[in-house]
Protein backbone atom coordinates (compact mmCIF):
# COMPACT_ATOMS: atom_id res chain seq x y z
CA UNK A 1 0.00 0.00 0.00
CA UNK A 2 2.69 2.46 1.00
CA UNK A 3 4.63 1.70 -2.14
CA UNK A 4 1.75 2.53 -4.36
CA UNK A 5 1.46 6.02 -2.98
CA UNK A 6 5.16 6.57 -3.52
CA UNK A 7 4.98 6.40 -7.28
CA UNK A 8 7.20 9.01 -8.83
CA UNK A 9 6.99 10.16 -12.39
CA UNK A 10 10.08 10.89 -14.43
CA UNK A 11 8.26 13.63 -16.25
CA UNK A 12 5.55 15.73 -14.66
CA UNK A 13 2.05 14.66 -15.58
CA UNK A 14 0.53 16.76 -18.31
CA UNK A 15 -2.23 18.54 -16.52
CA UNK A 16 -4.35 20.56 -18.83
CA UNK A 17 -4.73 23.97 -17.30
CA UNK A 18 -5.68 25.98 -20.33
CA UNK A 19 -6.35 29.61 -20.12
CA UNK A 20 -9.89 30.25 -21.09
CA UNK A 21 -10.15 31.93 -24.45
CA UNK A 22 -12.09 35.13 -24.75
CA UNK A 23 -13.15 37.46 -27.45
CA UNK A 24 -10.88 40.46 -27.26
CA UNK A 25 -13.40 42.71 -29.03
CA UNK A 26 -16.16 41.89 -26.61
CA UNK A 27 -13.83 42.29 -23.67
CA UNK A 28 -12.42 45.66 -24.65
CA UNK A 29 -15.61 46.96 -26.21
CA UNK A 30 -14.33 47.46 -29.74
CA UNK A 31 -17.27 47.88 -32.08
CA UNK A 32 -15.59 48.46 -35.40
CA UNK A 33 -12.58 46.76 -36.95
CA UNK A 34 -10.60 49.05 -39.19
CA UNK A 35 -9.37 47.67 -42.50
CA UNK A 36 -6.88 50.54 -42.79
CA UNK A 37 -4.84 49.34 -39.83
CA UNK A 38 -2.72 46.60 -41.38
CA UNK A 39 -0.49 46.18 -38.33
CA UNK A 40 -3.44 45.40 -36.09
CA UNK A 41 -4.95 42.93 -38.54
CA UNK A 42 -1.68 41.00 -38.65
CA UNK A 43 -2.62 39.55 -35.28
CA UNK A 44 -5.44 37.64 -36.92
CA UNK A 45 -3.38 36.25 -39.72
CA UNK A 46 -0.76 33.50 -39.75
CA UNK A 47 2.72 33.67 -41.23
CA UNK A 48 1.47 32.84 -44.69
CA UNK A 49 -1.10 35.61 -44.46
CA UNK A 50 -4.12 33.35 -43.95
CA UNK A 51 -6.90 34.32 -41.58
CA UNK A 52 -6.63 32.45 -38.28
CA UNK A 53 -9.62 30.37 -37.23
CA UNK A 54 -11.83 31.28 -34.32
CA UNK A 55 -10.74 28.22 -32.37
CA UNK A 56 -7.24 29.67 -32.12
CA UNK A 57 -7.94 33.33 -31.53
CA UNK A 58 -11.07 32.93 -29.43
CA UNK A 59 -12.88 35.69 -31.26
CA UNK A 60 -16.66 35.50 -31.12
CA UNK A 61 -18.56 34.73 -34.29
CA UNK A 62 -19.90 38.25 -34.64
CA UNK A 63 -16.43 39.76 -34.62
CA UNK A 64 -14.74 36.98 -36.55
CA UNK A 65 -16.95 37.92 -39.47
CA UNK A 66 -15.88 41.52 -39.13
CA UNK A 67 -12.23 40.57 -38.82
CA UNK A 68 -12.50 38.46 -41.96
CA UNK A 69 -14.11 41.31 -43.86
CA UNK A 70 -11.52 43.80 -42.67
CA UNK A 71 -8.65 41.48 -43.63
CA UNK A 72 -10.11 40.99 -47.08
CA UNK A 73 -10.52 44.72 -47.59
CA UNK A 74 -6.97 45.33 -46.42
CA UNK A 75 -5.73 42.74 -48.90
CA UNK A 76 -7.50 44.50 -51.73
CA UNK A 77 -5.74 47.73 -50.83
CA UNK A 78 -2.37 45.98 -50.58
CA UNK A 79 -2.17 46.72 -46.87
CA UNK A 80 -1.96 42.98 -46.23
CA UNK A 81 -0.56 40.33 -48.55
CA UNK A 82 -2.71 37.59 -50.05
CA UNK A 83 0.09 35.08 -49.65
CA UNK A 84 3.65 35.33 -48.34
CA UNK A 85 6.23 33.50 -46.33
CA UNK A 86 7.36 34.77 -42.97
CA UNK A 87 4.96 37.65 -42.69
CA UNK A 88 5.84 38.29 -39.07
CA UNK A 89 9.60 37.91 -39.13
CA UNK A 90 9.87 40.52 -41.87
CA UNK A 91 8.49 43.22 -39.66
Amino acid sequence: MAQQTDIKYLTPIAVDIRKKKYCRFKKSGIKYIDYKDGEFLKRFVNEQGRILPRRLTGTSLKYQKKVAQAVKRARHLALLPFVTDNLKSNN
Binding site: R73, L77, A78, L80, P81
Partner: protein, 159 residues
Protein backbone atom coordinates in the same frame (compact mmCIF):
# COMPACT_ATOMS: atom_id res chain seq x y z
CA UNK B 1 -63.80 49.65 -34.94
CA UNK B 2 -63.22 49.58 -38.65
CA UNK B 3 -65.47 52.53 -39.13
CA UNK B 4 -63.50 54.58 -36.63
CA UNK B 5 -60.20 53.79 -38.31
CA UNK B 6 -61.49 54.94 -41.65
CA UNK B 7 -62.58 58.17 -40.15
CA UNK B 8 -59.09 58.85 -38.78
CA UNK B 9 -57.53 58.30 -42.16
CA UNK B 10 -60.03 60.58 -43.80
CA UNK B 11 -59.25 63.31 -41.36
CA UNK B 12 -55.57 63.21 -42.29
CA UNK B 13 -55.15 62.72 -45.99
CA UNK B 14 -51.39 63.16 -45.76
CA UNK B 15 -51.08 60.62 -43.00
CA UNK B 16 -48.77 58.29 -44.92
CA UNK B 17 -46.81 61.05 -46.56
CA UNK B 18 -44.73 61.62 -43.44
CA UNK B 19 -43.58 58.00 -43.41
CA UNK B 20 -42.72 58.17 -47.07
CA UNK B 21 -40.76 61.36 -46.56
CA UNK B 22 -38.93 59.80 -43.65
CA UNK B 23 -38.01 56.79 -45.72
CA UNK B 24 -36.74 58.89 -48.58
CA UNK B 25 -34.62 61.12 -46.40
CA UNK B 26 -33.14 58.08 -44.72
CA UNK B 27 -32.28 56.47 -48.01
CA UNK B 28 -30.92 59.54 -49.61
CA UNK B 29 -27.80 60.27 -47.65
CA UNK B 30 -25.21 57.75 -46.66
CA UNK B 31 -21.80 57.91 -45.13
CA UNK B 32 -19.07 56.57 -47.38
CA UNK B 33 -15.37 56.12 -47.15
CA UNK B 34 -13.18 55.67 -50.17
CA UNK B 35 -9.49 54.88 -50.47
CA UNK B 36 -7.63 54.84 -53.74
CA UNK B 37 -4.06 54.13 -54.79
CA UNK B 38 -2.31 56.17 -57.47
CA UNK B 39 0.78 55.09 -59.41
CA UNK B 40 4.13 56.04 -57.88
CA UNK B 41 5.22 57.35 -61.31
CA UNK B 42 3.45 60.64 -60.62
CA UNK B 43 5.23 63.64 -59.22
CA UNK B 44 3.98 65.17 -56.00
CA UNK B 45 2.17 67.88 -57.96
CA UNK B 46 0.54 65.49 -60.40
CA UNK B 47 -0.62 63.42 -57.48
CA UNK B 48 -2.22 66.46 -55.85
CA UNK B 49 -3.88 67.35 -59.12
CA UNK B 50 -5.40 63.91 -59.37
CA UNK B 51 -6.67 64.16 -55.83
CA UNK B 52 -8.23 67.52 -56.64
CA UNK B 53 -9.88 66.08 -59.70
CA UNK B 54 -11.65 63.43 -57.63
CA UNK B 55 -12.49 65.98 -54.97
CA UNK B 56 -14.17 67.97 -57.71
CA UNK B 57 -16.09 64.92 -58.92
CA UNK B 58 -17.46 64.50 -55.42
CA UNK B 59 -18.30 68.15 -54.90
CA UNK B 60 -19.93 68.50 -58.32
CA UNK B 61 -22.22 65.62 -57.51
CA UNK B 62 -23.29 67.35 -54.32
CA UNK B 63 -21.35 65.26 -51.84
CA UNK B 64 -20.20 66.72 -48.58
CA UNK B 65 -16.61 65.81 -47.81
CA UNK B 66 -16.31 65.18 -44.11
CA UNK B 67 -12.64 64.35 -44.01
CA UNK B 68 -9.72 63.57 -46.24
CA UNK B 69 -6.31 62.15 -45.65
CA UNK B 70 -3.21 61.72 -47.74
CA UNK B 71 -1.01 58.84 -46.65
CA UNK B 72 1.69 59.75 -49.15
CA UNK B 73 3.87 57.19 -50.88
CA UNK B 74 3.47 53.81 -49.24
CA UNK B 75 4.97 50.44 -49.87
CA UNK B 76 2.52 47.86 -51.20
CA UNK B 77 2.43 44.42 -49.64
CA UNK B 78 2.37 42.87 -53.09
CA UNK B 79 3.05 44.37 -56.52
CA UNK B 80 0.13 45.89 -58.43
CA UNK B 81 0.76 46.53 -62.13
CA UNK B 82 4.45 45.82 -61.49
CA UNK B 83 4.66 48.71 -59.02
CA UNK B 84 5.77 48.13 -55.46
CA UNK B 85 4.55 51.40 -54.00
CA UNK B 86 1.74 53.89 -54.45
CA UNK B 87 0.15 57.13 -53.26
CA UNK B 88 -2.79 56.47 -50.97
CA UNK B 89 -5.59 58.92 -50.48
CA UNK B 90 -8.72 58.70 -48.38
CA UNK B 91 -12.04 60.56 -48.63
CA UNK B 92 -14.85 60.38 -46.15
CA UNK B 93 -18.07 61.87 -47.49
CA UNK B 94 -21.83 62.05 -47.11
CA UNK B 95 -23.77 61.60 -50.32
CA UNK B 96 -26.40 59.72 -52.27
CA UNK B 97 -25.64 56.26 -53.53
CA UNK B 98 -25.53 57.42 -57.14
CA UNK B 99 -22.45 59.52 -56.36
CA UNK B 100 -20.49 56.37 -55.59
CA UNK B 101 -21.34 54.99 -58.98
CA UNK B 102 -20.07 58.11 -60.69
CA UNK B 103 -16.93 58.23 -58.56
CA UNK B 104 -16.02 54.63 -59.30
CA UNK B 105 -16.61 55.22 -62.98
CA UNK B 106 -14.12 58.05 -62.82
CA UNK B 107 -11.65 55.84 -60.98
CA UNK B 108 -11.87 53.24 -63.70
CA UNK B 109 -11.45 55.79 -66.44
CA UNK B 110 -8.36 57.30 -64.86
CA UNK B 111 -5.30 55.20 -65.53
CA UNK B 112 -3.38 56.92 -62.72
CA UNK B 113 -5.56 55.06 -60.23
CA UNK B 114 -4.33 51.52 -59.62
CA UNK B 115 -6.81 50.44 -56.98
CA UNK B 116 -9.82 51.81 -55.15
CA UNK B 117 -12.21 50.74 -52.46
CA UNK B 118 -15.43 52.43 -51.44
CA UNK B 119 -17.17 51.34 -48.29
CA UNK B 120 -20.43 52.52 -46.79
CA UNK B 121 -20.09 53.23 -43.09
CA UNK B 122 -22.39 52.11 -40.32
CA UNK B 123 -22.72 54.01 -37.05
CA UNK B 124 -19.80 52.21 -35.43
CA UNK B 125 -17.59 53.02 -38.39
CA UNK B 126 -18.55 56.68 -38.20
CA UNK B 127 -17.83 56.78 -34.49
CA UNK B 128 -14.49 55.09 -35.05
CA UNK B 129 -13.53 57.47 -37.86
CA UNK B 130 -14.30 60.44 -35.67
CA UNK B 131 -12.22 59.06 -32.84
CA UNK B 132 -9.35 58.36 -35.23
CA UNK B 133 -9.47 61.89 -36.58
CA UNK B 134 -9.34 63.41 -33.12
CA UNK B 135 -6.42 61.20 -32.17
CA UNK B 136 -4.52 62.30 -35.25
CA UNK B 137 -5.22 65.93 -34.48
CA UNK B 138 -3.94 65.52 -30.95
CA UNK B 139 -0.80 63.82 -32.17
CA UNK B 140 -0.22 66.53 -34.75
CA UNK B 141 -0.67 69.18 -32.08
CA UNK B 142 1.73 67.36 -29.78
CA UNK B 143 4.30 67.08 -32.56
CA UNK B 144 4.03 70.78 -33.27
CA UNK B 145 4.58 71.85 -29.70
CA UNK B 146 7.65 69.66 -29.23
CA UNK B 147 9.55 69.43 -32.51
CA UNK B 148 12.74 70.79 -30.96
CA UNK B 149 12.78 68.10 -28.33
CA UNK B 150 12.41 65.34 -30.92
CA UNK B 151 15.28 66.31 -33.15
CA UNK B 152 18.15 65.87 -30.70
CA UNK B 153 16.63 62.56 -29.62
CA UNK B 154 16.78 61.29 -33.20
CA UNK B 155 20.39 62.32 -33.51
CA UNK B 156 21.37 60.36 -30.44
CA UNK B 157 19.67 57.29 -31.87
CA UNK B 158 21.67 57.49 -35.04
CA UNK B 159 24.96 57.69 -33.19
Amino acid sequence: MIFVRKKVVLLQPNFYQQFINQKISKNMLNHYETVFIMTPVLSEEQMKETVKKFEKVLLDKGAEIVHQENWGLRKLEYPIAKKTSGFYHLFEFVAEGSVVKELELQYRRDEKVMRYLTVSMDKHAIAYAEKRRNLKKERAAAAETAPVAEQPAENTNNE
